[in-house]
C-alpha cells in the first residue's frame, strides 16, 4: 500500500512539475542573444585577424560559441580580463601562438618610396589609407588601428609600423621614464 502511495505521490508531483517546466520552456524562451555585441564591444577593433578570424566581430561570434578568450594580442591582458568577466570564465594568459601584446603602433608610409600600387589601400580593414593609383599614399594616423595588414602586401616595403608617440596629453605619469639631463653646474 505504502509503495503505491509513494509512487503515486511522487509520480503526480513530477508530472505537475514537468508540465510547469514544459510550459515555462516555451513561454519564457529568450529570443536572440546580444552576447556577441557585448563581446564585440570589448574587442579592440583593430581588425587585425591575429586571432585567426577575419575581423573582430567574427572572433566575437567565435567566443560566444565557446572559443578561447585569449587570442587577441592587441587587446592584451586587459581585454582578456574584461572578456573573462563577461563570459564568467577564468582569465588565461594570452595565447602566444597568436602573437604577443605590443605597444600600440601606427603604420607610416615612407612617401618617397611609395609607388602608388594601392595594394595597401585594399588591405586596410578600416580604410585608413588615402591615395589613388600611381599616386603617393598616406596613412591617416587617427584612423589607423595598427593592425599591420598593410605591411605585407606592399611590394616595395615602404610601410613601417612605428609606436604611437607620447605627447603630454597621453603621457602616463611615469616618473622613471623622464630623461634627466646632466647639466653642468653653473657656478
Amino acid at each position: 500500500m505504502s509503495i503505491v502511495t509513494a509512487l503515486l505521490a511522487l509520480g503526480v508531483l513530477a508530472l505537475i512539475f514537468g508540465l510547469v517546466l514544459g510550459f515555462a520552456a516555451v513561454r519564457f524562451k529568450v529570443e536572440s542573444d546580444p552576447i556577441v555585441d557585448q563581446i564585440d564591444a570589448l574587442l579592440p577593433q583593430t581588425q587585425c585577424g591575429q586571432c585567426g578570424y577575419p575581423g573582430c566581430r567574427p572572433y566575437a561570434e567565435a567566443i560566444a560559441n565557446g572559443d578561447d578568450i585569449n587570442k587577441c594580442p592587441p587587446g592584451g591582458e586587459s581585454t582578456i580580463r574584461n572578456l573573462a568577466d563577461l563570459m564568467g570564465v577564468e582569465a588565461k594568459p594570452l595565447d602566444a601562438a597568436h602573437g604577443t601584446e605590443d605597444t600600440k603602433k601606427v603604420a607610416v608610409i615612407r612617401e618617397d618610396e611609395c609607388i602608388g600600387c594601392t595594394k595597401c589601400i585594399q588591405a586596410c580593414p578600416v580604410d585608413a589609407i588615402l591615395g589613388a593609383a600611381k599616386h603617393m599614399h598616406t596613412v591617416l594616423e587617427h584612423e589607423c588601428t595598427g593592425c599591420d595588414l598593410c605591411v605585407e602586401p606592399c611590394p616595395v616595403d615602404c610601410i613601417d609600423m612605428v609606436p604611437v608617440p607620447t605627447r603630454p596629453e597621453n603621457w602616463q605619469w611615469n616618473l622613471q621614464k623622464i630623461p634627466v639631463h646632466t647639466v653642468e653646474s653653473s657656478d
Binding site: 514537468g18 517546466l21 520552456a25 585577424g49 586571432c51 585567426g52 578570424y53 587570442k71 586596410c124
Partner: protein, 229 residues
C-alpha cells in the same frame, strides 16, 4: 585511451572537484575530523558519483533539456538514499558517525556538477570513468584533509577505522604522539577551513612551479586575412 588519461588528470588534479571547483565543501569540511570519517564519506561520494554519472549518461538521450536538472537530482537522490540505507544496514558504526552527512551528498554540487558538465554529454563508459576519477580526487582531498586534521588535532591516524573497515582495522590506528590537550581548533570546523586553505595553496604552489618548469613552445596560428574576399 588519451581521453581516459585526460579524464584522470582532470579528476585527480587539474580540475579536482574539492581543490579547484570547491564543490561539496559542506560535507567536506564537516566530516574530515578523522581519516576514517573522511574515507567513509569519500567512498560514499565516489559510489554515488559513479552511479549517477552512469545513469545520467545512459538516460541523457531521453531527457529533454528543460527537465534535465530535476531528473539528475532525482537520480542522485535515489542513489544517496539507497546508499544511506545500505550503510545503515551493513556498516552501522560508520553510519552513526556519518549519518547526518550522507543526505548532504544529495546537495553535493560536485555530483550534479559532473552530471551536468560531463555525463549529460558523454557516453556511459567515459562518464563512469569521469565519475570514478572525480570521486577519487574528491576522496583523496577528504583523506588528506582528514589526515592533517587528525594528526594536528589528535596526534593519531586511522582512529576508529574498525567502524568502517571491520574489526581487523582496529590495528591500523597509529598514535603519532600522545597529546595532553588536543588542538581543538584542528578538530573544529574553523580548523577545516584553515587546513583546506593551506592544501589549496599547496596545490597552487605546485601548479605554479610546474608552470615555471614547462614553458610550452608557441605554435604559430595562421593569421586570417581580414581583407581577402
Amino acid at each position: 585511451m588519451n581521453e581516459y588519461k585526460e579524464l584522470t588528470w582532470q579528476g585527480l588534479w587539474a580540475n579536482n572537484p574539492a581543490l579547484v571547483q570547491l564543490l561539496g565543501l559542506c560535507p567536506l569540511l564537516a566530516v574530515t575530523s578523522t581519516v576514517t570519517n573522511a574515507l567513509g564519506l569519500g567512498l560514499a561520494t565516489l559510489l554515488v558519483l559513479v552511479g549517477s554519472n552512469i545513469t545520467v549518461s545512459l538516460v541523457r538521450d531521453w531527457v529533454p533539456k528543460e527537465i534535465r536538472i530535476p531528473v539528475f537530482v532525482m537520480v542522485i537522490a535515489t542513489f544517496v538514499t539507497v546508499i544511506q540505507l545500505l550503510m545503515n544496514a551493513y556498516v552501522y558504526g560508520l553510519y552513526q558517525s556519518l549519518g547526518i552527512f550522507i543526505p548532504l551528498i544529495v546537495t553535493n554540487c560536485a555530483i550534479i556538477g559532473r552530471a551536468e558538465a560531463y555525463a549529460s554529454k558523454n557516453p556511459w563508459r567515459r562518464s563512469a570513468f569521469d565519475g570514478l576519477m572525480m570521486g577519487i580526487g574528491f576522496s583523496a582531498v577528504l583523506v588528506v584533509l582528514g589526515g592533517v586534521r587528525e594528526i594536528i588535532g589528535n596526534g593519531s591516524l586511522f582512529d576508529g577505522a574498525e567502524l568502517l573497515l571491520g574489526d581487523w582495522a582496529a590495528g591500523l590506528r597509529v598514535e603519532l604522539f600522545a597529546v595532553d590537550y588536543p588542538l581543538l581548533l584542528a578538530i573544529l570546523p574553523p580548523g577545516a577551513f584553515i587546513a583546506m586553505g593551506f592544501i589549496i595553496a599547496l596545490k597552487n604552489l605546485i601548479d605554479h612551479y610546474r608552470e615555471q618548469r614547462a614553458k610550452q613552445p608557441a605554435k604559430q596560428v595562421t593569421r586570417a586575412r581580414v581583407t581577402a574576399q
